[in-house]
């Protein structure tokens, strides 16, 4: 087949890129080779627009065993235990087919984690949908949720945390990010780097079908009216086979058979083989006749580009094939030696005893395009919203509006569809600031949380980037965990647009600053560009997934009030920042202005001080103050509890709306035994931590003196109605 400009374009390659391919090959590629370049050089695999910026992220620390660059990040939690985790997007496939898109997203991220030798112990997700009124939202939402549950429940890994958000910026482009967390022994971690010549390259798992051919280039293209045509690329997940694959791999990993192992994710056999060879500075030769195929007459092109799920590539030590095959036979999985490592530094593809394609590995990997795309700084909107000019609203009504809104209403209708308890190590399920998973057979645990704040990032990407790292950090602290490291999924619009690229660069700068200051390194992540349709880009949505350590597990700490008549303290200063707040958005549909400022010094100090109090067992319950401000946080502490609170009117003469709904950062609310107050104040003062005594818990009622009084039962109802009527 003659390669025309049109074919090149169809492969998502720019003509300059095609010229470059010819130069690297010193000839024209054939169709198969073009397909391989297109898979490796697209945004999803090459990170061509993001690499320049990603390099700036802090990725090191005492706790880091492996940072970005492998299938997942690895951190040390002591006693030879390691935690392996990563987040990944599956936005485009989920928009086309929500159930399968979300399901295969979960399947993919799980493979990234168990590939490295970890038994997955928790799943999380961050899902973003368009406006609830949008005609597509409901079915997308239901499809995605059941897809996530369908996969995770079947494979038997608890889905323990996540976030669900609605915003019309996602009307035509939803976000589905899945995170997996696994546990491994520190001295038994597996990497993807190939080593040694003439080693067997083994294909294991499901058979290869025609599914998802060009999925990776699809994930790197904007949607347009023609996206319908791209539908045959939908992949169907098979969690049952993945369960078998996981058990078989973990069984094989018990001895020393494996030199290198890599899941087949985006761009399937192509990217997995190239990645292994590239990291090991080797060549790889594949005999495509040997690849187990599901359909008849599959071509080398289809075999190399298929994105069939539940497959892995393994490089074995000499002589280990027989024993390894036995294991995969036991689990009824295909196990075929399909090639070997070579010293040619080339990817060589044979079919019917003919060489059908041969490409230098470097041309695909290290010589892939790298763009330092143009970007511009965000023009900052300095508006001042005059509350007095707005229609007067009662505090009570504003609160009810927030608590009953789709974004803030209780999400148990989602989480009840996920098995959160399988594996019997879930100490705290979703519904709290962070979930807690015990390390099997030990008395320590990890805390996990995923967070995003697109509105803040849109308004001011630099601060938004910082803020979201801090919020994630706070969520781990409130359950008593020491935050260790993060993974991040960067969901952005079209990087060829300099405003969007600016959002990316600035968000990343913010993330970097916060991570550096908090010693909270990035160990893995994923970038998803081209989220949007017809030039309408989504809000910049970096999603942060954090992992923290609880060294000695005792009763889990959460935000529900525990007792009558205990003292409630607010840690951190309240300035009353209302711009970009939930209060203005939900009640007045106002989106203007700047996000709240982030003061990293206060963040760090307030968080670390709270951890000290928690370690001394002085805290009954704790919660961070985020979206919706102080009053929303306090009502959340009452909703899940039989106790409410009597809130004192603020002493200083402040505007009540600013005081109660302001979204100032670095704040926590804690409930303490009233007779410990002195002791706690002393510690707070010693640590230069600002605090206020804001109220006392009481039975049944949520109350602000002389302002409002609602029963906690009613709050619960208000918070649980939305989905029932949707």
């Amino acid at each position: 087949m003659k390669i025309t400009a049109q074919i090149v374009e169809k492969h998502g390659l720019k003509l300059e890129e095609y010229e470059n391919i010819k130069k690297l090959l010193e000839r024209e590629p054939n169709f198969l080779e073009l397909g391989i370049f297109s898979a490796m050089w697209n945004e999803h695999c090459s990170y061509k627009s993001s690499r320049v910026h990603l390099k700036k992220l802090p990725t090191k620390g005492k706790q880091v065993i492996q940072g970005p660059g492998e299938n997942a990040g690895v951190i040390d939690i002591g006693d030879n235990d390691a935690i392996i985790f990563k987040i990944e997007s599956h936005n485009h496939p989920s928009y086309i087919e929500p159930y399968q898109g979300a399901a295969t997203g979960v399947g993919g991220i799980l493979r990234d984690v168990f590939t490295m030798g970890a038994r997955p112990i928790a799943l999380l997700n961050s899902i973003h949908f368009g406006a609830p009124e949008h005609p597509k939202t409901k079915s997308l939402l239901n499809g995605v949720v059941s897809g996530i549950g369908g996969y995770g429940n079947c494979i038997g890994i608890p889905t323990v945390a996540g976030e669900t958000k609605f915003n019309d910026t996602y009307n035509e482009n939803i976000l589905v990010n899945a995170m997996a967390v696994g546990h491994a022994k520190k001295d038994k971690i597996f990497y993807s780097k190939a080593k040694g010549l003439n080693k067997s390259v083994v294909y294991v798992g499901s058979k290869t079908g025609r599914d998802g051919i060009h999925g990776a280039s699809m994930a790197s293209a904007e949607f347009d009216e023609n996206s319908e045509e791209k539908k045959p690329t939908v992949q169907v997940g098979d969690p049952f086979t993945e369960k078998l694959l996981m058990e078989a791999c973990l069984e094989l990993m018990k001895d020393n058979s494996i030199i290198s192992i890599q899941d087949m994710g985006a761009a399937g056999l192509t990217s997995s083989s190239v990645e292994m060879a590239s990291k090991g500075a080797l060549g790889i030769e594949l005999d495509l006749d040997k690849v187990p195929c599901r359909e008849e007459n599959m071509t080398p092109y289809e075999i190399m580009l298929s994105e069939s799920q539940e497959r892995m590539l393994i490089i074995l030590e000499d002589g280990k094939e027989k024993n390894a095959k036995k294991i995969f036979d036991k689990w009824d999985l295909d196990f075929v030696v399909i090639g070997k490592t070579t010293n040619t530094n080339k990817l060589t593809l044979k079919f019917n005893n003919r060489i059908e394609g041969e490409i230098p590995i470097d041309a695909l990997a290290s010589n892939a395009p790298l763009y330092n795309r143009k970007w511009v700084k965000k023009k900052i909107q300095k508006t001042r919203i005059d509350l007095k000019k707005l229609k007067k609203i009662k505090i009570e009504d504003a609160l009810i509006k927030i608590l009953s809104s789709p974004n803030h209403s209780n999400k148990s209708w989602i989480t009840n569809q996920y098995d959160q308890n399988v594996m019997c190590d879930t100490v705290q399920k979703s519904g709290s600031d962070a979930s807690i998973i015990r390390i099997h057979n030990k008395d320590k645990a990890i805390a996990v949380s995923v967070d995003s704040s697109a509105n803040y990032c849109k308004a001011y990407p630099l601060v938004g980037g910082k803020q979201i790292v801090c919020e994630n950090w706070r969520n781990l602290i409130t359950v008593g965990a020491k935050p260790l490291a993060i993974t991040n999924c960067l969901n952005f619009g079209n990087p060829e647009n300099k405003e969007i690229m600016g959002e990316f660069a600035e968000c990343l700068e913010g993330i970097k600053e916060a991570c550096e200051f908090l010693n909270y390194p990035v160990v893995s992540g994923n970038v998803s560009f081209y989220n949007g349709t017809n030039k309408k880009n989504i809000y910049p949505t970096p999603v942060i997934g954090g992992v923290g350590l609880i060294k000695k597990l005792s009763k889990p700490l959460n935000h529900n009030f525990k007792k009558n008549n205990s003292t409630v303290i607010l840690i951190g200063k309240t300035f009353g920042h209302l711009e970009q707040s939930c209060f203005l958005k939900e009640n007045y549909s106002i989106n203007e202005g700047m996000p709240p400022e982030v003061n990293l010094l206060n963040e760090k100090n307030n968080g670390e001080t709270l951890l000290k109090l928690i370690d001394k067992k002085l805290i009954l319950s704790s919660h961070d103050v985020s979206n919706g401000g102080l009053i929303t946080a306090l009502s959340e502490m009452s909703i899940g509890s039989e106790y409410g609170i009597k809130i004192f009117k603020p002493k200083k003469l402040t505007n009540l709306y600013e005081y109660f709904f302001g979204e100032d950062q670095a704040r926590y609310i804690v409930e303490i035994e009233t007779n410990n107050l002195g002791k706690i104040e002393k510690i707070l003062k010693e640590n230069n931590t600002y605090y206020e005594n804001i109220g006392l818990t009481q039975k049944e009622f949520f109350e602000i003196e002389k302002e409002l009084k609602i029963s906690t039962n009613d709050l619960f109802k208000i918070n649980n109605e939305w989905y029932k009527n949707y």
Binding site: G156, F240, N416, N421, D425, V427
Partner: protein
Amino acid sequence: MRSSVIVFPGSNCDRDIAIALEKMQFKNQMVWHKETKLPKSDLVVLPGGFSYGDYLRSGAIAGKSLIIDEVVKAANSGCLILGICNGFQILTETGLLKGTLLRNKNLKFINKDVHIKVMNNNTKFSNKYKNNQLLKINIAHNEGNYFTDPKHLDELNKEGLIAFKYCDEKGNINNGTNPNGSLENIAGILNLKKNILGMMPHPERMIDDIISNKDGINLFSSLLN
């Protein structure tokens, strides 16, 4: 007591139940579904999970595996058999228990802690509980909606073969306290000889205060009794 846990491809509560049994001092063995011999056991457990992905009908394909013939033999000779969740579904598919488990009435997977009432404590599986005792136990299933014909239902009631019923924290048994649409709020049943128990709730998830509660422990200690 010697126990055997059968492991099917796709079982995923096998480790959890094994831990519970060992904690309760059972001498436990894991038995792969392709085995053709069952080790000497006083108790055989069919664990929860998604054997064969729940494809076709939940429990159907596991019901055809090699080891099942041995389990049926053991059951017929009086060995105690416990099927939890997917294990319950397998028991109905093999005919060891009558009736069937249909999709939950809301067609959604349900995971939550529910209350169940002990309906008969005069069995090998429940003698450490009191009659009408309320337990708070985790459920996690797609197909827990128990259905059977009127004649069998009658037998279940007359012979005291209903082991547990879903209820609320006060013990009320009605439509509102029925999570999945199960006939008469049935959460678990026995066979006529009362040596086989199938139940949807997961007692193995309720043996540890830090994780949940200890309401499941007495099921295991009843067996040891």
